[in-house]
């Protein structure tokens, strides 16, 4: 198992959001997280990525297994596409960025400052970062926001190739990516009443 989660409870701002989550990801598997806005998908992904401690339960994964991609792409507007991607490749200690540029059709934009890219192009660059991390488990939060149909296709291909290489993916999304994947509705794990209503704006 690349990632297994046992009876996990997660909280946002001290308020329990989800509880009793259990799932596991083997090499080659993808799990699609579903659930309405504010149901706790982002909180779950941030917990799995290690950015916040779980309220209860256990997450078993190698410390260097998870590559996280958030709503924000973490791009520097004044660096070019190549410089942005090379930076992440060096941080994660991997070398070649050419396959990542190719996978997301960014070759023609390689020398463009990231600030001059469109929203969809920025997203593609943000997703290309996943390929240069060289990590087996992708934890992705709404990866297809602002992508057009062709780019969604590129992304789905990249995920398929990643799974074929023995990787795994945990994806929160509202659209159908056409992947062979299990679906998991986080709403069934909604935490008990105290968690409800008021703080949903922060989820």
């Amino acid at each position: 198992m690349l990632l297994s989660v046992h009876d996990l409870a997660v909280a946002r701002g001290g308020v329990p959001v989800l509880e009793g989550l259990s799932f596991a990801l083997a090499p080659g598997e993808a799990l699609i997280l579903r659930g309405p806005n504010g149901s706790g998908k982002t909180t779950l992904l941030r917990t799995v990525a290690g950015l916040q401690p779980p309220l209860a339960g256990r997450i078993d994964a190698a410390s260097d297994a998870i590559a996280y991609a958030a709503h924000a792409d973490g791009l520097k507007a004044t660096l070019t596409v190549t410089e942005n991607l090379t930076f992440w490749a060096r941080v994660f200690g991997t070398g070649d960025i050419a396959p990542a540029l190719a996978a997301f059709a960014l070759e023609d934009l390689a020398d463009r400052p990231a600030g001059a890219l469109s929203a969809g192009q920025k997203r593609r660059l943000g997703l290309a970062r996943l390929l240069v991390t060289g990590r087996p488990v992708w934890a992705l939060d709404e990866p297809t926001v602002s992508l057009d149909t062709a780019a969604v296709g590129l992304f789905a291909d990249a995920v398929r190739a990643h799974l074929a290489r023995g990787g795994a993916a945990l994806i929160a999304t509202h659209i159908d990516l056409g992947l062979e994947a299990r679906h998991f509705d986080v709403a069934v794990c909604k935490a008990s009443p105290r968690a409800a209503a008021e703080d949903e704006a922060f989820l």
Binding site: R46, A49, G50, L51, Q52, P53, D64, I66, A67, Y68, A69, A70, H71, A72, D73, G74, L75, K76, A77, T78, L79, E83, F87, W88, R90, V91, F92, G93, R129, T133
Partner: protein
Amino acid sequence: MIALLARDLRLAVRAGGGFGLGLAFFLIVTVLVPFGVGPETELLARIAPGILWIGALLACLLSLDRILALDWEDGSLDLLATAPLPLEALVSLKALAHWITTGLPLVLVAPALGVLLSLPAEGYLWILVSLALGTPALSVIGTFGAALTVGIKRGGLLLSLLVLPLYVPTLIFGAEAARRGAEGFSTATPLALLAGITFGTIALLPFASAAVLRINLR
């Protein structure tokens, strides 16, 4: 690690990166002082070390909120926190990048600005030495303040209020060393205390900065 330092330095010299901002501020403050206190060279010579130190400190303060806030806003801080780089190393590198882009230029121009304040010739060396020894502490303490305020929108003023009191010991011993040097006295004691502050903060504060950053990232 080198990659992060190289990126921060590159970002600083690109458009809007803020390199030179602190330097220009330092220059203007120093030039304004003689207009404010009058052109008497004796008075200026006496207050020159203190003015140069306060100017350097304020110039340093000016760029503190860029250390972590920019990375927080565009999401790269979250991504860096999940990268194979300990947060302690991250904050140390951020402080180092801040010192190279802000502190080091201040150190190098301070003797030249001393001329504008008719600093005695013996003082040039000591203002250089005291700033070189003291400004790393300013960057490290500032990074701690930046880590404390990282989640707060427009947290610049709060950051200044938090950090300025922490700058007091550095200022006291730094300015004292420069003043004694300029007046021809021994500078050993204030310099030793200044070095103690600098090395102490470099050794300990990154752990505190990383701890508060971890909490702020939740």
